[in-house]
Every structure is written in structure tokens, then in C-alpha cells.
């Protein structure tokens, strides 16, 4: 492996080399910054690089040389979405509107630093996490296409091999949609698994923190480092943190795979459906039992997430509405923040009632299956500037379509990952979504890793 190749490899390959001192964190950081300098002028995935990145790398190297190796994140460059507060970089949240966020580390950033990671940059996001386009970031696979969002910078940065891991946040699909559109892994854990302290809120009961990465093992390592209760985030749960690596390198023989046939199918691009069918055939051939399921209440899910997300976001932005700062938001985000005023209290609580029923229904389904699998997004990355898409005979808003298959798992707060499962006829990545019951990330990891090991999608990389 030459210095030039270093950033191209996943964390799971880099960590053992750093541990055994075959790879210097300083060389890795240098190669990372050189690659970003060379290619991010086009991709535009970063909004800020830490001025102390090389100092952090030298500190990591000194510690490891002195025999104080902290674990698999030690000396690994990791980027974070620009809604995670950082002590050494400003937080802009994708907006040009006036704001003043404190210079301090979010809980997840603190944990990364404690594990020895080099938090070296902030990735671009759709303004206030309210959208799935992330302008002006480009999709590394086809630079005239969007990377998805709202963690679009994180998805593009990992896909472009600027880093093996970047943190994102997911309120209705904002980790999994860019992961799907950019051909990388994205893991939204169970609500309550990772602290959101210091992550600028979007919708308190829907927001999740989590990683985007090159491989399933990479996300597993980061999940391990970030998990655990935190008094500063009342949403975190005091539940035991298992060894998530128990899900890696396991057979899926005997695993029960559910497929919700309504809602998740019937309105997808044909190439997406074909890729998912092939993935389901893999699970069946490899010894899993595949079971078709129905969940009629998903018909009401869009209303529920709109009611909760709009009203929560508007409550958060009360000050920005009152001071007129909202007038400086981009038109699409300003409209959403203003619209939240129209959601009534009964609508909001009815949405929370629906959530209760959805969670109960899913709990019943998860008695019969270990994971539920389907597409992450009904469509692949769409051209920048395009706002509608033809799926079958229907014309649909790309914004409405792109989160249709991800938001159910935010409403239910259940763990869900997107992993690459092929490419469409235009060479754009397709994502496979795997979800499981509450706090059962190990089942997601087991099913995801088994699929990843049996396919070579992760070895493909975009030509920049």
C-alpha cells in the first residue's frame, strides 16, 4: 500500500496497521488532506478542515509509539457533519443565516477523541438538516447528481475516499439516503443508543446520530465507541451496550428475514427493485428464511412524520422566526419552518399515537423475523436541479420519494442500515436497507456483513 492509497482503504484495514506501527497516523493524515486538496474542489463535501489536524495526528503517533494504543479508532481521521458542535471548528449547520453556536465538542465528538480518532473536518449538510440535496456537494459517482442529504457531505466524503468514516445525523433518513445514493454504508442505531448532546436539534424525538463508512465493520467499530447513556441527552437509554462485533463474520443460516411488501415496494425504479430481489435471493440461498409481511398502517406514516418533524423544527426555530433570521434561510427550508406553525396540537399528538401503534405492530412482526429488509431509496441519485422523477407511470417529487422508505424507522426509533447492493443502468449506487427490533443492532450488523462479505460492491470506487 503506497501513501497515495492510504485514504482509499477502510478503517478496519487501517487500524491493525496503525496498531502494529506499520502505518503512521501522520502519513495517513497527510495523505487524507492531500486527497481532499486534490479532489474536493469539485465534490465540495467539506466546509471546514481543522487547522490542528496534523497536530492531532502527531499526538496519536507519539502515544502509539509510547505504547499507549487506545483501540481501533486511534490515529484514524474521521469527519463529522456540520451539525455536531466542535471545540476547534465553527458549526455552521449549512446556513448563511446569523447564528452563534458554542465552540465545544458534542458528546459523540468527545467520544471519538477519547478513542484516539483525529476529528479533522466538518462535512457539508443540507441547511438545518431539512432536505436531501445538500447543495453544492456533488455525488462522486456522477458529479452532475446530488449526493442525497441531509448528511450529503458525509456520504460524498466517504464515497470519494476522503476518509473511511464520517458522522451523520438521521431524522427521516439523513444518514441512510446519502449512504444509498453515494454507495457507502450508513447506520442509524436505535433511538437512545448514541447521545445527541451537542448535535444541533432538528426534531428531538426523531433525530439519531450515527456513522457513514466504507464497510459494515467500520460502522460497527464507530457504533461501539459512541454508544452509551448520557445524562446530557435525555433521549439516551440506560441499556447495556453489547459487543457489536458479535454480529460480524456470522453465518445467516437460520436467520429470519422479513419483507414488508406494501409501502416498501410497488413504487420503486425497476433497477432498484431488481437489485433488492437479487439481494433477497442471496439471503434465501444462504440459508435464511424469507417471509413476506404487510403493515397497512404505514399508509399514515407520512402524515405522522410531517406533523412531528414540522412542529418540532418550528418550535426549535422559534427564535429565528421571531428575530427574522428565518428570512435568511434558503427558500425551501424557510417554507418548512414557517409551515410548522400550521400543524395543530391534536395533529401532533395523533401522530404520536400512530407511532405507538406502529411500534406495537413492528414488535409483533419482530417476533417472527430477525430483520426486515428492503430498498433504502426508491430511486438512485437524481440530477442536480431536478425536482421530480418518473417512477413507472407516475411523476413524483424527488423529495417526497427519497425518504419514503427510511422515515418509518425514525418513527419507530428502530436500528436500520443502508449498505451498497449494486448499481443502476447509469452506474449509480443502489442501497439495501436492513432494520431490526429495538437495540438489536447486532442483527442488522450480522445480516449486513454477511451480504457485504459475499459481494464485492465495496471494492468499486468512483473515478474522480
Amino acid at each position: 500500500m503506497t501513501a497515495h492509497d492510504l485514504p482509499l482503504r477502510p478503517l478496519e484495514e487501517l487500524a491493525p496497521l496503525i496498531k502494529t506501527r506499520q502505518l503512521s497516523p501522520v502519513d495517513l493524515m497527510q495523505a487524507t488532506l492531500a486527497r481532499i486538496d486534490r479532489f474536493d474542489g469539485d465534490i465540495q463535501s467539506f466546509v471546514c478542515l481543522a487547522s490542528n489536524a496534523m497536530d492531532q495526528a502527531r499526538t496519536a503517533e507519539d502515544e502509539i509509539t509510547a505504547g499507549r494504543y487506545r483501540g481501533p479508532l486511534h490515529g484514524i481521521p474521521i469527519a463529522v457533519k456540520d451539525n455536531y458542535l466542535t471545540a476547534d471548528m465553527p458549526t455552521e449547520v449549512g446556513t448563511a443565516a446569523p447564528k452563534s453556536f458554542p465552540l465545544r465538542d458534542a458528546a459523540a465528538v468527545e467520544r471519538l477523541r477519547s478513542a484516539g480518532a483525529i476529528v479533522f473536518g466538518k462535512t457539508r449538510m443540507h441547511e438545518f438538516a431539512w432536505g436531501n440535496v445538500t447543495p453544492p456537494t456533488r455525488n462522486p459517482w456522477q458529479q452532475d447528481c446530488v449526493p442525497g442529504g441531509s448528511s450529503g457531505g458525509s456520504g460524498a466524503a466517504v464515497a470519494a475516499r476522503f476518509c473511511s468514516v464520517a458522522l451523520g445525523s438521521d431524522t427521516g433518513g439523513s444518514i441512510r439516503i446519502p449512504a444509498s445514493l453515494c454507495g457507502v454504508v450508513g447506520l442509524k442505531p436505535t433511538f437512545g443508543r448514541i447521545s445527541r448532546d451537542g448535535v444541533v436539534p432538528h426534531s428531538w424525538s426523531l433525530d439519531h446520530a450515527g456513522p457513514l463508512s466504507l464497510t459494515v465493520a467500520d460502522s460497527t467499530i464507530v457504533l461501539q465507541a459512541l454508544s452509551g447513556a448520557d445524562a446530557a441527552d435525555p433521549g439516551t437509554a440506560a441499556v447495556p451496550v453489547p459487543d457489536f462485533s458479535a454480529g460480524l463474520n456470522k453465518s445467516i443460516r437460520g436467520m429470519r428475514v422479513g419483507v414488508i411488501r406494501n409501502h416498501f415496494f410497488g413504487r420503486n425504479q425497476t433497477d432498484v427493485d431488481s437489485a433488492i430481489d437479487a439481494a433477497l435471493a442471496f439471503y434465501a440461498a444462504d440459508g435464511a428464511t424469507v417471509l413476506d409481511l404487510e403493515m397497512p398502517l404505514l399508509e399514515y406514516g407520512l402524515a405522522a412524520i410531517f406533523a412531528i418533524e414540522l412542529s418540532s423544527s418550528t418550535a426549535y426555530h422559534a427564535r429565528n422566526l421571531a428575530t427574522g433570521a428565518v428570512n435568511s434561510f434558503t427558500p425551501d427550508v424557510r417554507l418548512l419552518v414557517e409551515m410548522g406553525r400550521l400543524v395543530t396540537g391534536p395533529d401532533y399528538l395523533k401522530a404520536e399515537q400512530l407511532r405507538s401503534v406502529l411500534m406495537q405492530d413492528l414488535a409483533r412482526l419482530f417476533l417472527d423475523v430477525d430483520v426486515i429488509i428492503g430498498p433504502t431509496s426508491p430511486l438512485t441519485a437524481w440530477p442536480i436541479g431536478e425536482w421530480t422523477v418518473e417512477i413507472g407511470n407516475e411523476t413524483e417529487s424527488v423529495l417526497a420519494a427519497s425518504w419514503r422508505l427510511t422515515y418509518p424507522w425514525n418513527l419507530a426509533g428502530l436500528p436500520a442500515a443502508s449498505i451498497p447492493c449494486g448499481f443502476d443502468r447509469h452506474g449509480l449506487p443502489i442501497g439495501l436497507q436492513i432494520a431490526a427490533g429495538p437495540y438489536n443492532e447486532i442483527a442488522v450488523i450480522r445480516a449486513a456483513h454477511a451480504y457485504e462479505r459475499a459481494h464485492a460492491w465495496k471494492e468499486r470506487m468512483p473515478v474522480l
Partner: protein, 81 residues
């Protein structure tokens, strides 16, 4: 376009203090969401407890930055400003 009754309703009851043209844009965009919300409103969930858990124990320390947002005093309902 919104009329003056809608203007008062949005400003005084809903608290959306924007100009008339802006109100039309917000209401127009909201109509699509209302279609979905109307489906939810028609669903009988009477006996379902919402997914909201209340606890009388503070979950986080009192935040000293909790201060009133400085906003103009709203005009009484029906009174134009």
C-alpha cells in the same frame, strides 16, 4: 391569495407573522401535507396512548439561557396593525 381574515388568523392565532404574499406561499405548500394529515385525522386511535413519556424528574439541569423571546406584542384578534 389569502384574504384579511386569513391574515388575522395566521398572525393572531397561529403566530405566523409574515406578509400576505408569504402567507399564500405557506398555505399553498401546506395543502399537500394537509391531504396526508386528513387521512390521519380520520383514523380512530382513541384508546392509544401517544408515544410521549412524561416524568416529573428533571432529565437535564435547568438551562440558564431560557429567556423569553423578544417579540412584538400581538394585536388583539380582529384588530389590524
Amino acid at each position: 391569495m389569502t384574504n384579511s381574515r386569513e391574515t388575522h388568523w395566521l398572525r393572531d392565532i397561529v403566530g405566523l407573522d409574515v406578509d400576505v404574499e408569504r402567507q399564500s406561499a405557506v398555505i399553498g405548500a401546506y395543502r399537500d401535507i394537509l391531504v396526508e394529515l386528513n387521512k390521519l385525522r380520520a383514523l380512530d386511535l382513541t384508546d392509544v396512548h401517544p408515544a410521549v413519556i412524561f416524568s416529573p424528574i428533571p432529565s437535564s439541569p435547568y438551562h440558564e439561557a431560557v429567556v423569553p423571546i423578544a417579540t412584538p406584542t400581538p394585536a388583539p384578534p380582529g384588530e389590524a396593525r
